[in-house]
Assembly symmetry: C2
Homo-oligomer: 217 residues x 2
């Protein structure tokens, strides 16, 4: 019975790893779509996000079934509840990547990013993808040290969002209001994507840290 | 033992109700801050959101303690896990209200909303507050019918966000890029606030609905 349970627990963690890989791939594709005005990549991403959502719902079901059937001990319960939260973060990361792709679809055939801001948006995309990769690695290796590094990356992401807003405001000739709105949202979506990567690493650090009585996640 | 447990469960639900009341109050204050360019209301809201976050963390701790100590039966587990999700929704609603207030603080003393768009933003604020009130009432009365009505309100909110974007684009003379960016974000924050109210009502409907084997929330 406990062996079957541990197999289920292992499958739960495997699925979580798969989900992290998908979120990382999604933000890479979203950045490609927005920089290259690649409508096919944008459309493909909208379809792929369905896969992420489905996996998220499966993980939710897995977690609750594990708790209900197996009466896990405290440390296992802690892992499962943290896993539920991680699954929620990864689902949102997929949705944020899709939101970026949707802006590309809405504005097509016009490009979303004016040429002078292209390098900055590319840097936000690279930072987001790097943060997702780091969070995924931290989840796989249970490395609590990743949380501090992800905090630093997140400060960098916040700085990039502020810089993007500043550059949009300073553009001459002024950018059109529609472009300004798109860029505000794209900056926001990357920044939120980064926040969720930080949350993932913090949950890993929490899991690896000393066991606390209240199991707060 | 079970009596103490049911008292804890009742306290958990009371706290969830308090949290819903705070989220509703927060969006009302945020709308006042943005429409009246009321810097004091904006600052006050930033402080109050701390209370929401603290209550959210308490609820998380309560939920996990309830599960760990009491080995709840399936229907109770379902309620507690749904409560965890609801607490997460309400915490985000508080954060979204704060984000609106932060834009007011950032642009002060300049007003964020140009006069011709004031009525539209007021309507978004009223819709958001109404949705929060409906979600709170549905949680208190366990009314599964609220989910359908909140879906309708959410369609209205989506329409308002699209209209706001359209009106920003069509303004003559054109709005400044900074104003366009602020309004894109404000529209987005109201729309996301509405999404979470919908999620709350859907979780109530799920809880009241027929018990399912997998307990998916």
């Amino acid at each position: 019975m406990r062996t079957a349970y541990h197999e289920e627990l292992a499958r739960f963690h495997d699925r979580l790893g798969d989900l992290a890989g998908l979120a990382e791939g999604a933000i890479r594709q979203a950045t490609q779509a927005v920089l290259d005005n690649d409508i096919d990549a944008a459309r493909k991403l909208s379809a792929e996000e369905e896969t992420i959502s489905r996996l998220h719902r499966l993980l939710d079901a897995d977690a609750v079934t594990l708790i209900a059937r197996q009466q896990p001990v405290a440390s296992e319960l802690r892992t499962i509840v943290a896993g539920l939260r991680m699954s929620g973060d990864l689902d949102r990361m997929g949705a944020l990547a899709r939101h970026i792709a949707e802006i590309v679809q809405r504005r097509h055939p016009r490009a979303v990013v004016p040429e002078p801001l292209r390098a900055l948006v590319a840097e936000m995309g690279e930072t987001a993808q790097r943060m997702a990769a780091m969070a995924r690695a931290a989840m796989a290796s249970r490395d609590p040290a990743a949380a501090a590094e992800l905090d630093r990356q997140d400060n960098e992401m916040d700085r990039l969002e502020t810089t993007l807003a500043q550059r949009v405001i300073e553009c001459t000739p002024p950018v059109e209001p529609a472009t300004a709105m798109d860029l505000a949202l794209i900056g926001r979506f990357y920044e939120r994507f980064g926040d969720h990567a930080v949350a993932l690493a913090a949950r890993v650090a929490y899991l690896v840290g000393p066991v606390q009585e209240d199991l707060t996640v």
